[in-house]
Symmetry: C2
Subunit: 232 residues, 2 copies
C-alpha cells in the first residue's frame, strides 16, 4: 500500500465550507458514512475549472485508499494537464436509491446518498503508480491482478492516477419514507431503486469457465451495492 496514514477520528471534519444548507438535517458527520458511499459508488463525477474558465465534469473510475481518493481516468484529458499544477477539484459520488411518494408532489422527493470531496488532486509519482493502479484494480476487479500479466513499463507510462485527500468531505443522505405521517386513502411510501450485478458474459471463443476473480467480483459488488437497511 502506498498510504499508511490512518485517521482514527470517526467524525468528518467540521468546517463552515462543508456545511449542508438545504435540508441540513440530512447531513452526516460519521466518517463511516463517507466510506460506505465511496465503497458502494461506481463513478466519481469530477468537477474542475478549465483553463478557459468554464466548468467541466467528467466521470472517473476511483478507489478509496485509506484517507485518500485515487482517481483513474483517460490521460488525454484536460484534467491531467491541469492536475500537474495541483488543480482544485470536487469529486461527487451519488447513489440514487429511489422515489419517495409523499401526499403532495412538493413533499415528494428522492432517496439518495451523496459524498462530495473537495480539494486539490495531484498525480501520483511514477514510483507509486503501479501500487495505486493495483489499489484501483483491486477495488473494481478484485482478484484479477494476480490472474493476468503485470502491466508493462509502457502501459504504466501511458496511465495516470490522481490522488486527493478525503479530509474536506461532505456527506448527505436521504433514506426511507416521506416525512409526514400516512393519511387514510392515499398511498404514500417509496419505490426503491438498486444496482445489481448480472451474470458474467464471456467473449466469443472463451474456452474456460469464469475465472475465480469474476465470481469474486460479482460477490463483492453484490455486497457493496446492497442498499443499507434503513431504520424504519
Amino acid at each position: 500500500m502506498t498510504v499508511s496514514t490512518t485517521n482514527t477520528d470517526d467524525q468528518l471534519r467540521d468546517s463552515p465550507d462543508l456545511l449542508v444548507h438545504r435540508y441540513k438535517w440530512l447531513q452526516r458527520r460519521e466518517r463511516a458514512d463517507l466510506f460506505a458511499i465511496l465503497d458502494a459508488g461506481t463513478i466519481a463525477h469530477v468537477g474542475f475549472v478549465r483553463p478557459d474558465g468554464k466548468p467541466m465534469v467528467i466521470p472517473m473510475a476511483y478507489a478509496r485508499d485509506g484517507e485518500f481518493l485515487l482517481m483513474h481516468g483517460s490521460s488525454g484529458s484536460g484534467l491531467t494537464r491541469s492536475a500537474v499544477a495541483g488543480v482544485e477539484l470536487v469529486a461527487t459520488i451519488s447513489i440514487f436509491d429511489g422515489l419517495v411518494y409523499a401526499q403532495s408532489l412538493f413533499d415528494s422527493t428522492v432517496n439518495y446518498r451523496c459524498a462530495m470531496v473537495f480539494g486539490r488532486a495531484v498525480p501520483v509519482t511514477e514510483r507509486e503508480r503501479e501500487d495505486c493502479i493495483r489499489v484501483i484494480s483491486e477495488r473494481l476487479m478484485p482478484g484479477r491482478w494476480t490472474e493476468v500479466r503485470p502491466p508493462t513499463k509502457r502501459e504504466l507510462a501511458a496511465t495516470y492516477v490522481l490522488r486527493m485527500p478525503l479530509d474536506m468531505s461532505s456527506v448527505k443522505v436521504r433514506e426511507g419514507q416521506p416525512t409526514e405521517d400516512a393519511r387514510s386513502g392515499i398511498w404514500t411510501g417509496y419505490l426503491p431503486f438498486e444496482s445489481v450485478v448480472g451474470e458474467p458474459v464471456p467473449q466469443l471463443g472463451v474456452d474456460i469457465v469464469p475465472a475465480q476473480s469474476i465470481t469474486m467480483a460479482a460477490d463483492v459488488w453484490k455486497q457493496r451495492l446492497r442498499r443499507p437497511t434503513s431504520a424504519e
Copy 2:
C-alpha cells in the same frame, strides 16, 4: 408543454468544443443516443464555478423537455443565485454498465454511457414554473400529478427550475466485450451492472393498495433502466 421547438435534425451538433479526444471512436453523433441516455439516467451531476472560483458539482433531478434539459434542485443552493445571472454549466449524466475483463488490466475497462450538456441554464419564469415542474414530475413519477393535490402558490414560489438547451451536447458510450479477440485459457468478457426497481414500500399506516401511478412508475422505469442490447 412549455417548449414547442423540435429539432428534426437527427445528428448532434458538430463542434470542435464537443469532440471526444480520448477513445474518440466511442463518441456518438446520433441525437437518439443523447435522448436515450437522458431518459435512462437518474441524476445529473451539474458542474459550475462558484463565485470564489472553485468548482462545484451537485446532483440534481432532471427531465428532458424536447430540446431542453430541465433541472430541479434545492433552492437554497449557490447555483440558484448564480443561475439568475445565466451561469455557465455542464450537466453530466453517466450510467455505469459494468466491468470489462480483458487479457490485461491495462486493456480492461468499464462499460458506460455518458452525456455531457454544456451551456447556460436560466431559471424558468414564474409563469412557466408549474408546467416545468409537471414535466419533471411526470418523468420521475409518471401519473402521480393527477393523483395528488396540485401545488400551492406558496410551494411554487419555493421551487425553482433551471432550463438548459441541449444543442451543445457530447455523448460517449462504451459497450460490450473487450477489443481484442479471446485467447485460449484466459477468461475474458464482461460483468454487467444494471439498475432495477424494487417493490413499492408503503409507509406505516397506509390503508390502500399502491396507487396506479406507483405501478406505472415501476413499469416505466424498468423499461428505461434496461441496458440497450448491444450488437455482438
